[in-house]
C-alpha cells in the first residue's frame, strides 16, 4: 500500500477536452436577479497573458452555506440542487477567464471569528507543478473585509489588496499576477 501523499504534477498544455468539455463557468444563469460576473486575466512574470491556464472556484451560497454535507448549519437556507458552489473556466488566447455566480454570504472563521464573503480559487497551468490557491474578496464589503481574519493576516496592505476584486460597473475584475512586483497573494495550507 502506498504511504504518504501522492505528489502533484503540472496539468500540462493538453487538458482542455478532458476538463473543459462542459461549460462550468455559470454557477447561476446570467439572467439570475443577483448574478455577479467575474472577469480576469492571468499574467506571467513577463506581463504576458497566460492562454493555457484553468481557474476553478469554490464558494458558499448567498446565505453563507457550502453545498457539502459537512456544512450542517441547518438554520441556513440551502439548496445544493440549484447552487453547487463549484465553477471552472479555461483562459482564452488573451489569458481571460470569467464566471457568472452570486456573492456568497459570510462564513465562520477560526476561533469564533467571521470571514468576509469570499471565493476560493485554484489556478492550474503548464509551468505550475502544483496549483496556486488564492481568494476573491468583494470591494463593497469594506467593513466585513476589515474584520476578516485571513485578509488581516497579510500585513503588507498592497499585497492584501491583490485579493480584492475591482468593481468595473457591473463586472468584477480579478486579475491574477503569477509573479512580479504586483504578484497576487497565494496561500498554502
Amino acid at each position: 500500500m502506498t504511504s504518504g501523499p501522492t505528489p502533484s504534477q503540472t496539468v500540462g498544455p493538453f487538458f482542455h477536452d478532458a476538463l473543459l468539455g462542459e461549460d462550468r463557468s455559470e454557477l447561476v444563469p446570467p439572467d439570475h436577479p443577483r448574478a455577479v460576473r467575474i472577469e480576469g486575466t492571468v499574467y506571467d512574470g513577463a506581463g504576458e497573458p497566460v492562454p493555457d491556464a484553468m481557474v476553478e472556484i469554490w464558494q458558499a451560497d448567498e446565505a453563507g452555506r457550502y453545498a457539502d454535507p459537512t456544512d450542517d448549519r441547518e438554520d441556513l437556507p440551502h439548496d445544493p440542487e440549484t447552487f453547487s458552489g463549484f465553477g471552472r473556466s479555461g483562459t482564452d488566447a488573451a489569458g481571460r477567464f470569467s464566471f457568472f455566480t452570486v456573492k456568497p454570504g459570510p462564513v465562520p472563521g477560526p476561533d469564533g471569528s467571521l470571514q468576509a464573503p469570499h471565493i476560493m480559487v485554484s489556478i492550474f497551468a503548464r509551468g505550475l507543478l502544483k496549483r496556486l490557491v488564492t481568494r476573491i474578496y468583494f470591494p463593497d464589503e469594506g467593513e466585513s473585509n476589515g474584520g476578516d481574519p485571513v485578509l488581516s493576516s497579510i500585513e503588507d496592505l498592497e499585497f492584501r489588496k491583490t485579493l480584492l476584486a475591482i468593481d468595473e460597473g457591473g463586472v468584477l475584475r480579478f486579475d491574477v499576477y503569477l509573479q512580479g512586483d504586483n504578484q497576487t497573494a497565494f496561500f498554502e495550507f
Binding site: 478532458a18 476538463l19 512574470g45 457550502y66 505550475l128 496561500f187 498554502e188
Partner: protein, 238 residues
C-alpha cells in the same frame, strides 16, 4: 510568528510536493510565484468541497477504448487503484478525470504539433467516480512517450494525467501516473521536480498480474493518497 510545529509541517511537505520554481522545467521560470505564501487557517471554506453525483458521468466514460466506432491502436491496459485520504480512509463517490496521449505519443489537442499519427478511434479523455470502497478503474491504451521543447532532445516519459477532488477543497490534486521502469525518468524535469525518491515512486504505477486479464489487457495498479478533510499534514507523512 510561526510555531516550531508548523515549520516541521512545511519541511515534510517539501519532501513530497514539487516546488513552484524548478528552473530545469523552463515554464516554471515565469510562472512560479516569488513572494512568500500565506498560511491559510483551516476553515469551512477549505474543509468542504464540491460533490459530483452520478449525473455527469456516463456508463462508458471510464473506458477510453470504446468511445468510437473501432478500437484504438496500442497496448490495451486496465488502470485501477484506491483513492485514500491521509488517514488511509477510502474516498468514496469522488470524481476522477483523466487524459493522455495515444499509443503514438500524440494528443488530440489542436496545439500538439508532434508529427505522430492521430488515432481516429482514440480521444484520450475519460472520467469515473470512485466506488463505495474508494476504488476506481479505467480501461485505456498505454500512451506513448512524446517530444517537447523544454530543452534539446526533450521527451516526456509515458504518463496519464489524473485530476481528483477528494472530499474537500484542500484535497484537490492534479497529478501524472507513470509506468514502471521508464528510461526517461532521469531526463524529465517534471518527474524530477519531485526530489524525494520515495515520493517519486508514489507517481509510478506497478504492473499487476491480478488486474491483468488473460488474452485481453495488462493491468496496472496506481493508488492515490489525498489530503483528508481533517488530517494534519504530519499524519500524512507516517
Amino acid at each position: 510568528m510561526r510555531e516550531q510545529g508548523s515549520d516541521r509541517i512545511v519541511d515534510a511537505r517539501q519532501e513530497t510536493q514539487p516546488p513552484y520554481l524548478y528552473p530545469d522545467y523552463v515554464a516554471t521560470r515565469l510562472r512560479a510565484p516569488k513572494k512568500p505564501l500565506i498560511i491559510l487557517p483551516r476553515t469551512l471554506s477549505d474543509t468542504t468541497g464540491p460533490a459530483f453525483g452520478r449525473g455527469p458521468v456516463g456508463e462508458l466514460d471510464n473506458d477510453l477504448t470504446r468511445q468510437h466506432e473501432g478500437e484504438p491502436l496500442g497496448e490495451r491496459i486496465i488502470v485501477t487503484g484506491w483513492v485514500l485520504d491521509g488517514d488511509g480512509r477510502p474516498v468514496r463517490n469522488s470524481l476522477i478525470e483523466i487524459w493522455q496521449a495515444n499509443a503514438a505519443g500524440r494528443y488530440i489537442h489542436k496545439n500538439d504539433r508532434h508529427p505522430a499519427p492521430l488515432d481516429p478511434n482514440f480521444s484520450g479523455a475519460g472520467r469515473c467516480l470512485t466506488d463505495e470502497e474508494g476504488r476506481y478503474r479505467f480501461v485505456t491504451i498505454k500512451p506513448g512517450a512524446y517530444p517537447w521543447k523544454n530543452h534539446g532532445n526533450a521527451w516526456r516519459p509515458a504518463h496519464i494525467h489524473l485530476s481528483l477532488f477528494g472530499e474537500a477543497f484542500r484535497s484537490r490534486l492534479i497529478t501524472q501516473m507513470y509506468f514502471p521502469g521508464d528510461p526517461l525518468f532521469e531526463h524529465d524535469p517534471i518527474f524530477q521536480s519531485v526530489r524525494d525518491p520515495k515520493a517519486q515512486r508514489r507517481m509510478i504505477s506497478t504492473f499487476d498480474l491480478e488486474t491483468t486479464q488473460p488474452e485481453w489487457a495488462l493491468g496496472y495498479r496506481f493508488d492515490i493518497v489525498l489530503e483528508g478533510r481533517n488530517a494534519t499534514p504530519m499524519e500524512n507523512h507516517r
